[in-house]
């Protein structure tokens, strides 16, 4: 951002130079209060001693992280072993979020491409249609999905009426239902950034490729995809990250038989466990993982920019 301002080097930059700090103040305050302060609070809490039935005692402790990584048996006095429970919970969440992201990409990319290739007036309507489900609360949409997927629900009634199947296909309370729920909840997050990228794409490049005897597949892979990659990556991050921490879909569609990262953290604050430092520690580990993913993306992006430029 700073680079952009200086490279301008004109009088315009100077006009705003003085005022810039003041103009940025609201943004800094918002970021500080709504992002930084809660995260710091979590970080501090994760290193405190837990108070029985919720709350913290202001004494430094590594117990929360110890609980995450080491297993000392049911009574806490066996020799320490590696704790696989929480790693398994994290892995399950990553897997579910990953599948949901791929599903969204598979449906979202063609959708976005379709919208971006419509005449300009129609595009607004298509984008508008994509956002309509967002006017309804996520909880209600997830509960509705439950109704659709249940054994006696409309989907199964339809399948059985058409004679495709004899008995109901069991979908509710399965991993499949969770993935469908996540996919459905976050699909627009995939469509919109890809749409924005494809809309900016210069379609005469595709025509040039066709003139040079590239078939459609080759054009897509070597011309279109590299050009719209930032949109695809942004869409994947926007779907993957919230899916990772979601607990509505796993609880309502997956039957909550197994903890996901989100429900594990929720249980520490709202459940019997009342272990706030552990909930904070699990949140910090999740946050660290997400940050690592973002840093890897940023570095890959910087490298490809360098190669391109």
């Amino acid at each position: 951002m700073a680079g952009g301002a200086t490279s301008g080097g004109s009088a315009v930059t100077d006009t705003y130079k003085e005022a810039r700090n003041w103009l940025l103040l609201p943004a800094w305050i918002t970021l500080g209060f709504l992002v930084l302060a809660p995260v710091l609070l979590m970080l501090v809490y994760s290193f405190l001693t837990k108070e029985f039935r919720g709350g913290v005692i202001w004494e430094f402790s590594l117990a929360a992280y110890d609980q995450f990584f080491f297993d000392r048996g049911l009574f806490g006095d066996d020799p320490a072993q590696i704790e696989w429970t929480y790693i398994a919970i994290f892995w399950r969440s990553i897997w579910q979020a990953g599948v949901a992201t791929l599903l969204s990409l598979a449906i979202g990319f063609p959708t976005a491409y379709f919208i971006a290739t419509r005449p300009e007036k129609q595009r607004v309507i298509w984008v508008f249609l994509i956002t309509i489900p967002y006017w309804v609360n996520l909880l209600i949409r997830t509960v509705s999905m439950r109704f659709l997927l249940r054994d006696e629900g409309p989907l199964n009634s339809f399948f059985m009426a058409t004679g495709l199947v004899d008995g109901p296909i069991h979908m509710i309370n399965t991993n499949f239902a969770v993935q469908v729920g996540l996919f459905y909840s976050y699909l627009p997050f995939m469509v919109l950034p890809i749409y924005a990228a494809v809309e900016r794409y210069n379609f005469t490049l595709s025509e040039a490729a066709a003139d040079l005897y590239a078939n459609k597949w080759i054009t897509l892979r070597h011309i279109v995809l590299p050009a719209v990659k930032p949109g695809v990556v942004a869409g994947c991050i926007l779907v993957f990250v919230p899916s990772l921490g979601s607990f509505l879909a796993p609880d309502l569609l997956g039957g909550a038989k197994n903890f996901m990262i989100g429900s594990l953290i929720e249980e520490q604050f709202k459940g019997n466990a009342g272990n706030w430092p552990f909930g904070a520690a699990a949140s910090m580990i999740l946050l660290t993982m997400v940050l690592i993913i973002l840093v890897i993306y940023a570095r890959a992006q910087a490298r490809s920019d360098k190669e391109a430029g």
Binding site: L41, V44, F52, R53, G54, G55, L74, F75, G76, T85, A88, I89, R146, R150, D151, E152, I172, N173, D251, L252, G255, A256, K257, N258, F259, F269, K270, G271, N272, A273, G274, N275
Partner: protein, 344 residues
């Protein structure tokens, strides 16, 4: 940090206050969802010229977490279950009601004036009592319903058709009843056996869900579902083949109580509200709505006549239920571990 949290809670309280009308005073209730008829709140509002504000929660534990996170001082009363009443008292979150402050306290039936969770009713009044067990769709299952084997050791025809409440306290209490071991047991062999029993039962369960416990039974998603008796009665209205079980091994009893909270901003109105709920006609309106049982003398005259016939609300004589116990810190750590093992 604590100060920051308190400030946030105070700001919330201010915002809530800002929306106030011209009423004489206010009353802030922290209540379970779907547990009091709106008409009754309106009646209290009109009788005492008090503006009633109500927030709701979906578990005793989330209510405790909210109060401890700084909401104490925001609400006047909350409605926790028996064991949580004793926790609120021991955590210093409940205010004391002086003798004579409640003029209707004499209306509480004798058997309920000195409960173990709040001896002498110094902090609370009983609101609704009931049982937790499970309902079975008898159209789908012809076997014996009145045994905890139905959920903890289910016959093969019930595999994958059972919903369990997503609530550690109730599930582990009923599991202890099933095994015939005391709650909060510290005996290692018993705890290991409890852990093993739950691990063996879990693969046969379809889901853990409290919020939709009623709907999954009414819609036929599951054949067996752990549930409270009032919810069971409502589910049976939608699907009349549902039968609420009173297992021969026992079940879970509970008593939800209105607790006067510490630092209540409208303490006077809170006491008026408690007195209001101790009047037979008013508490009967709650009972008719929630379909549990109140313990106020003379309320029967205002009860829906169907309540006396209702199988869910009338446990058989000769078998006792148990109240959920609050374990000490060390024992609770083991129970947390068992619960995490169950859901990992």
């Amino acid at each position: 940090m604590k100060k920051l949290l308190t400030t946030t809670a105070a700001a919330t309280a201010l915002l809530m206050g800002a929306s106030g009308a011209q009423a004489e005073g206010k009353l802030a209730i922290y209540h379970w969802f779907e547990y009091i008829p709106q008409e009754l709140l309106d009646k209290f509002s009109a009788e005492h010229d008090v503006e009633v504000i109500m927030d709701t929660y979906d578990s005793n534990e989330s209510m405790l977490a909210t109060l401890k996170a700084g909401a104490i001082g925001t609400y006047d009363v909350a409605v926790p279950t028996d064991y949580m009443v004793s926790i609120l008292i021991s955590e210093g979150l409940a205010d004391e009601i002086a003798p004579g402050e409640l003029k209707n306290i004499g209306n509480v039936k004798d058997a309920f004036t000195d409960p173990a969770y709040d001896p002498g009713l110094k902090h609370s009044i009983p609101y609704q009592g009931g049982t937790t067990s499970f309902s079975v769709d008898t159209a789908e299952y012809a076997g014996d319903v009145n045994t905890t084997d139905v959920i903890f050791n289910p016959p093969s025809e019930l595999h994958g058709k059972i919903n369990i409440l997503d609530s550690q306290g109730e599930v582990l209490a009923l599991a202890a009843v099933h095994m015939g071991i005391p709650q909060c047991s510290t005996d290692r062999e018993q705890l290991k056996a409890l852990n093993a029993m739950l691990q063996a039962a879990k693969p046969h369960w379809a889901s853990f869900n409290s919020d939709t416990a009623k709907e999954v039974l009414a819609a036929g998603d599951v054949t067996v579902g752990m549930i409270f008796n009032g919810y069971a009665a409502k589910a049976a209205e939608a699907r009349d083949t549902l039968q609420y079980a009173f297992p021969k091994q026992g079940w879970v009893n509970w008593m939800d109580s209105v607790v006067l909270l510490k630092d209540a901003p409208n303490r006077e109105n809170a006491l008026k509200f408690m007195d209001f709920l101790l009047e037979p006609e008013n508490i009967a309106a709650v009972t008719n709505f929630a379909r549990y049982r109140d313990v106020v003398t003379g309320s029967e005259a205002f009860h829906d006549p169907a309540l006396a016939q209702e199988p869910e609300g009338n446990p058989p004589a000769g078998i006792e239920g148990v109240f959920v116990q609050a374990c000490d810190a060390e024992t609770q750590a083991v129970y947390d571990k068992i619960w995490t093992n169950l859901k990992k």
